[in-house]
């Protein structure tokens, strides 16, 4: 009898035993299903992986298809980058938080901009009322950027900037700041999010319609591949898709579909895939279902590598490697018994590490209540340090590989995500799928189902719909000083009275001309930033040419 036949025979006996047990004591639920709707079996065995080919499915860490990670030694060489997303109020306050984080052992910066900055309005714009400095730092001009990075040499940190529609402008500000610090562009390391497609479907900070937006993105790819070679020019983000309600499978599918759309756009713009491919990076969510998440990261890596090789003909291994940042799932945090969030975050962070993340943000326990306080941020950062230094999980590469369940689930997530990607491709790609509301509706349906599961107690959230306690609402939450807007408005006035107005007009005319002719936008935007044009002025110039995106509300 072969090994598999012996297992089959043993499994039949096991099933008999299970049947008897079930008669005495039924299981907790009639069926077990994960958040993606994938059935979870009672037990997994080699029978679930009958045709499993190790070399084809996994290979070695650092080898195609990179299921086991993009780097041969992984965390044995260096831990992931511990990078807490931070920014609030004025550039000066945020600069203080950055120094605090760097002193606490954080290894990379991650800039949160306020909504006016993300949507291309200066702080004195009417629509910025109530929003200045709230969800991030307010940046109107190079002046603010200089304050933001005061005392931080740009060749010593890697900086991630969550900026999408105006990414080219913030990138230009960072580059000009480097010039002022006498640091050459090739020493700069970091990432701009620069992922507009998920803004239309899930996050909402779009400015321009899809076509010009894609053009700006490919301009950045082209410029940075030549001038800023160590910079990640995009962070293709599933995080917000998941936060908006998507399942793990949908997160992988919609994110990778967007990724392929950027690759297509760049190839159509005449860029060879291996010229920009190595600098594409990703950003995923790490959610509640511990093992599903580990499998998700592994599935995403394999699916990306295979598609880049087979569909786009990429040859450079770096183009095939899906490198990603992870953030724990903000939407899983509860306002009830907020201390429990520390535990949630720890499990989610562990998933990301077992999934082989390159960098990680751990959420703070008070995020369902307000912006994180300094103490909450410290616990969140310590959670990562604890996983790294104390648990031992970082000492061997991809330790869950070979688990029958993990491998089966990795296959299943990959196959289901591929099916979604095929559907989107048939519709004409993500832009069309978004315009038709397909992606939004898929996400909304998942979000509504999830909420109904919670409200019917089918899904238990500890402290929320079970094990509740009477509690006081916590105090000492961080509050943004409302005078930030007045300060910013004052700074804008000062700036406008001091700068060379003719030089600003001329530089903005250069931006306009490039937008009209289709020339690469980066050089004229750099000139405008050097001339001290504001973010709002540059965006308005582009709005004049490109128009603005009008979202149809699909509900």
């Amino acid at each position: 009898m072969s090994a598999l036949e012996r297992i089959k025979a043993a499994k039949a006996k096991f099933e008999e035993k299970v049947a008897k047990t079930l008669q005495k004591m039924p299981e907790r639920k009639p069926a077990f299903v994960n958040t993606s709707g994938i059935p979870v079996e009672r037990v997994y065995t080699p029978l679930d992986l009958e045709d499993f080919d190790y070399m084809e499915k996994l290979g070695f860490p650092g080898d195609f298809p990179y299921t086991r990670g993009v780097q041969p030694t992984a965390y044995r060489g260096r831990f992931w980058t511990m990078r807490q997303y931070a920014g609030f109020g004025s550039a000066q306050e945020t600069n203080e938080r950055y120094h605090y984080l760097l002193n606490a052992g954080q290894t990379g910066l991650s800039v949160a901009f306020d909504l006016p900055t993300q949507i291309g309005y200066d702080s004195d714009h009417e629509l910025a009322r109530g929003e200045v400095g709230k969800v991030g730092v307010a940046i109107d001009s190079l002046w603010d950027m200089e304050t933001l990075f005061k005392g931080i040499p740009l060749d010593k940190v890697s900086t991630s900037m969550t900026i999408n529609s105006p990414a080219a402008i913030l990138m230009a500000m960072y580059l000009v700041l480097a010039e002022k610090q006498n640091i050459s562009y090739d020493k700069l390391r970091g990432t701009i999010q620069n992922d507009i497609l998920k803004e239309y479907s899930s996050r909402g900070t779009y400015i321009f319609p899809p076509r010009p937006s894609m053009k700006i993105i490919t301009d950045i790819f082209e410029y940075c591949s030549k001038e800023v070679p160590q910079w990640n020019t995009i962070s293709i983000s599933g995080y917000h898709i998941r936060e908006a309600g998507a399942t793990a499978v949908q997160e992988v599918a919609f994110t990778l579909a967007n990724g392929f759309a950027y690759v297509d756009a760049a190839i159509n713009a005449g860029l060879p895939v291996d010229s920009f491919g190595p600098r594409l990076s990703f950003f995923f969510n790490s959610h509640q279902d511990f093992l599903e998440e580990v499998a998700k990261f592994r599935a995403a890596r394999r699916l990306w590598a295979k598609t880049m090789k087979e569909r786009f003909g990429a040859k450079d291994p770096r183009t095939l490697m899906l490198r990603f940042h992870t953030q724990t799932a903000g939407c899983t945090l509860t306002a009830q018994q907020p201390l429990n969030n520390i535990i949630r975050v720890a499990f989610q962070a562990m998933s990301a590490v077992l999934g082989g993340t390159q960098s990680l943000h751990t959420n703070s326990m008070d995020e369902a209540l307000a912006l994180p306080s300094e103490q909450a941020v410290q616990v969140a950062l310590r959670t990562q340090q604890l996983i790294a230094y104390e648990t031992g999980v970082a000492d061997t590469v991809d330790p869950l590989a070979g688990s029958y369940y993990i491998e089966k689930l990795t296959d299943e997530i990959e196959a289901r995500a591929q099916a979604y990607i095929d559907t989107i491709e048939k519709m004409g790609g993500p832009v069309v799928a978004i315009e038709k509301g397909y992606i939004q509706k898929e996400i909304q349906e998942s979000a509504y189902r999830y909420q109904k599961e919670i409200e019917s107690n089918e899904r238990i959230i500890v402290g929320l719909n079970k094990f509740q306690v009477q509690e006081e609402k916590p105090k000492e939450l961080l509050k943004v000083d409302p005078s930030v807007r007045d300060q910013q408005v004052e700074r804008l006035k000062q700036l406008k009275s001091q700068r060379d107005a003719a030089a600003v007009s001329q530089a903005l005319a250069g931006v306009k001309e490039a937008a009209q002719t289709g020339a690469n936008l980066m050089p004229p935007i750099l000139s405008a930033v050097r001339a001290m044009a504001t973010l709002g002025e540059i965006c308005d110039t582009l709005r004049d040419v490109f128009g603005e995106y009008e979202a149809a509300p699909f509900v």
């Binding site: 909504l115 109530g130 929003e131 939407c331 306002a335 209540l369 909420q451 939450l477 149809a552 509900v555």
Partner: protein, 133 residues
């Protein structure tokens, strides 16, 4: 004559893009038999008030997770007062610190729903507090 359905304007004031919550609420209110008009993102208080009047709604349900509720929510109730509208029930929701709630209620927001609130609580609140018959 069939009973008039409760009409709700679901709105996202300001620049905040977090619309998971409001969309879930839209779906739940519809399932509860209400008529829901969703504004989409980036609405000014002026746009919300004029849509509410034009659509003749009974309820305005606003969601804001960016922290701008302290300016935007009271601005909506202020504009309603300026227009002499008194019979629209105004609700707010989002990441709203406890200490901000009294001020918001004093400005005319009938109730604030924070994380953990269920759709049924919101539905019940609307049914029990609606100002029009």
């Amino acid at each position: 004559m069939p009973e008039r359905k409760i009409r709700v304007l679901a709105a996202k004031p300001g620049l905040d893009g977090h619309d998971r919550g409001i969309k879930v609420i839209c779906a739940a209110l519809r399932d509860a038999g209400m008529e829901v008009i969703y504004t989409g993102l980036r609405q000014t208080p002026e746009q919300i008030v004029s849509a509410a009047i034009q659509e003749d709604v009974d309820v305005i349900a606003m969601s804001c997770l960016s922290g701008a509720h302290d300016y935007l929510f009271p601005r909506v109730t202020e504009l309603l007062k300026e227009k002499g509208v008194q019979d629209i029930l105004v609700l707010g929701g989002g990441i709203i610190p406890e200490e901000d709630i009294p001020t918001l209620k004093a400005s005319g927001i009938a109730e604030i729903f924070t994380p953990g609130a269920t759709t049924n609580q919101i539905i019940d609140f609307i049914r029990n507090n609606i100002r029009r018959n």
